[in-house]
């Protein structure tokens, strides 16, 4: 089985060791080896792109160079990291002039972008490296009583021209991976709409309204939990429920579970090994259904 370089980024190690822990346990169970490299930096996501797009692209390229030197593809857990790195990787592979320009900058630190590796999202590694059939075989605790609302977030899918994870309007990869665990993937309105995460600290009211919209629509669709792929979506919807309660006086009690946590449970990792206690909205409702 292939090895991947794990790109952790900033938010996961700083705030969500539960995501990293479950992803590592999952990939270990599935026989994918993860390599941790020295010198990775922030991927330079939208807040940094807003300050200087060129700097951001050059820093993303620098990080890709480190994986190129190790001769391994990157797996990113965070949608933000995936987007920044996969966009830069695709743009530089496509555009020779841009590549030459970025390489002039990278020469300052003794690096050269060659375009020899792929940047993959956690979901892509599961789908392409392992595949649905193999995952189904490895499930020891099917989540058959669970209705899961998949929440892709924005930067796993868009801009699709560069990211190429799935169809940006009718994706199926996440739904299929949920159903491979024996769970039911629940359809709900505005499934592909933003969580508002990037507007926090800039327009908090809009950010919270976008998060609330997800809670309203997944509740209406009868979901037992929302499954996320991104630490920003997770925070917007998990801690966001405390803010929604304070502002709108509404209680949803909707557990937010990273897909990595769901699959780890289905593969037989014990709940107490997964740092589920760090969720603000307790996962107990979900765990009861699995018992």
């Amino acid at each position: 089985m292939k090895s991947y370089v794990l790109f952790l980024g900033c938010t996961i190690p700083a705030r969500q060791p539960n995501y990293e822990l479950s992803a590592r346990k999952t990939l270990e169970k599935l026989g994918v080896e993860l390599v941790d490299l020295d010198n990775f930096t922030c991927c330079c996501p939208p807040p940094i792109q807003s300050i200087n797009l060129e700097s951001s692209q050059a820093v993303a390229a620098y990080n890709i160079c480190l994986a190129e030197e190790a001769g391994l593809d990157i797996v990113a857990l965070c949608n933000g990291c995936f987007e920044s790195l996969a966009m830069a990787n695709a743009a530089l592979k496509k555009d020779k002039k841009l590549k030459a320009h970025i390489n002039e900058i990278l020469a300052e630190v003794g690096k050269e972008f060659k375009g020899t590796i792929e940047v993959k999202h956690f979901l892509q590694v599961l789908m392409e490296e392992i595949g649905l059939e193999k995952i189904k075989e490895k499930v020891v605790k099917p989540l058959s009583k669970l209705k899961v609302a998949p929440f892709y977030g924005c930067h796993s899918l868009r801009p699709s021209k560069l990211l190429q994870l799935d169809d940006p309007e009718r994706p199926t990869i996440f739904e299929n991976l949920i159903e491979a665990l024996g769970a039911e993937s629940v359809e709900y309105r505005d499934k592909l709409k933003c969580c508002g995460g990037l507007l926090k600290g800039i327009s908090d009211d809009t950010a919270l309204s976008l998060a609330r919209d997800k809670l309203v629509k997944t509740t209406k669709a009868g979901a037992d939990c929302i499954s996320t792929l991104c630490p920003f979506c997770f925070v917007a919807l998990d801690i966001g429920q405390l803010q929604v309660k304070a502002k709108f006086k509404e209680v949803y009690d909707m557990p937010i579970i990273h897909y990595s946590e769901l699959i780890a449970l289905a593969l037989g990792v014990a709940p107490e090994e997964l740092a589920l206690r760090s969720h603000k909205i307790k996962a107990d409702k979900v765990l009861e259904k699995l018992a």
Binding site: L8, C10, T11, P13, A14, R15, P17, E20, L21, R24, D36, L37, D38, N39, F40, T41, C42, P45, P46, P47, I48, Q49, S50, I51, N52, L53, E54, S55, Q57, A58, V59, Y62, L66, I105, L106, E108, V109, K111, C154, H155, R158, P159, S160, P168, E169, L192, K193, C194, G196, G197, L198, L199, G201, I202, S203, T206, A207, S209, L210, A275
Partner: protein
């Protein structure tokens, strides 16, 4: 005798935008409004409209575009960019406008905090001692060193400047 030219030649705002990284596709817009109708922020906040930002940019209303809040209200979801029939890279265009606005001294203060953290730590979110201890408890490997020196060299080489905080800004 030669007549002295008094007219100053100034580059138009739309030329300025299209010459920027991310702004290249501005002039392809034909104002159909697919962006605005695909925008989750516009649905909630009528003061935000991506089509309007593009129109003002095309018309050269530089001050209005750069100094108003609108360009900072985009949630970067890329829905508009995905659906634009003219392949205007709208989300990237908004980054380009933000880059220009910031050079002109307009930006919400939070960007100054992001830049400070990036320059100092090479990360935009700090790792606390508490979390490092938690990692140990969970059996996660210690975090690897960050390439902060290389990162700062790249930032310098690309003219990255930390936005200053302003009093009137949020």
């Amino acid at each position: 005798m030669m007549t002295q030219k008094t007219e100053k030649t100034t580059i138009s705002f739309s030329d300025e935008v299209t010459s920027r990284h991310g702004g290249e596709t501005l002039t392809a817009c034909y104002q159909c409004g697919t962006c605005a109708s695909s925008c989750p922020v516009a649905r909630l906040d009528s003061s935000f409209n991506p089509r309007e930002i593009i129109k003002l940019s095309l018309l050269g209303a530089k001050e209005e575009v750069l100094s108003r809040d609108a360009i900072w209200q985009c949630c970067s979801c890329f829905n508009c960019q995905e659906r634009c029939p003219q392949n205007v890279e709208i989300a990237d265009l908004i980054y380009a406008l933000r880059n220009i606005a910031l050079e002109a001294g307009h930006s919400p203060n939070i960007y100054s905090d992001f830049a400070s953290a990036l320059i100092a730590e090479g990360r935009i979110v700090q790792i606390s001692k508490f979390v490092e201890k938690k990692r140990e408890e969970y059996g996660l490997p210690p975090l690897k060193p960050v390439g902060v020196d290389d990162l700062n060299k790249i930032l310098s080489a690309t003219g990255f400047t930390k936005p200053e905080k302003t009093e009137e800004s949020k």
